[in-house]
Subunit: 113 residues, 2 copies
Amino acid sequence: MVDLDFKKAGGLIPAIAQDYKTGEILMLAYINEESWDKTLKTGYATYWSRSRNQLWVKGETSGHLQIVKEILVDCDDDTVIFKINQIGDVACHTGNRTCFFRNIKFKKVNEKS
Amino acid sequence: MVDLDFKKAGGLIPAIAQDYKTGEILMLAYINEESWDKTLKTGYATYWSRSRNQLWVKGETSGHLQIVKEILVDCDDDTVIFKINQIGDVACHTGNRTCFFRNIKFKKVNEKS
């Protein structure tokens, strides 16, 4: 069993929600120890809302629950990935499927491909 | 142009490095305003090292540079995705391709699939 390093991270660790079938990243939110325990015990992605300062079962109100299919932990024990089935196919509060619906212009490296 | 919300996040924003071809998540690190500017200007993923407390051009020492192919920003302007070409095919300091090489047991929801 892996113990996440909540102490180093100031009590909150980023959790990336990724579509378990397509690999698309849908959102990033934070977990504390309580939400981590609840996710492991229920199989539903449960975060800590930094704005409301309370436990947040994603989709509890909207119905857009996230059923966890796989959980990955990084080498430093301070980031996790929830591979999920996104109920309703909408993860973002804006109504978009993913929170990452905008892309940014930048200088690209000229690679031979 | 999107202005990232560095103030809300205490100066550091999580950046997820994702393989631009396969969608595999390779690592998560943090960026400050300086590393964000440098990434946009150079096209190489540049982070802020929290342990060394300095700018961190990923792969500058190891040669495992990350060439950025696409940048996505989330709805709250406080998380980014770097879709990258990982030079050397190794993102993790452990020598693994991805930092997320361990998975965790948990109670799964019994879904019809």
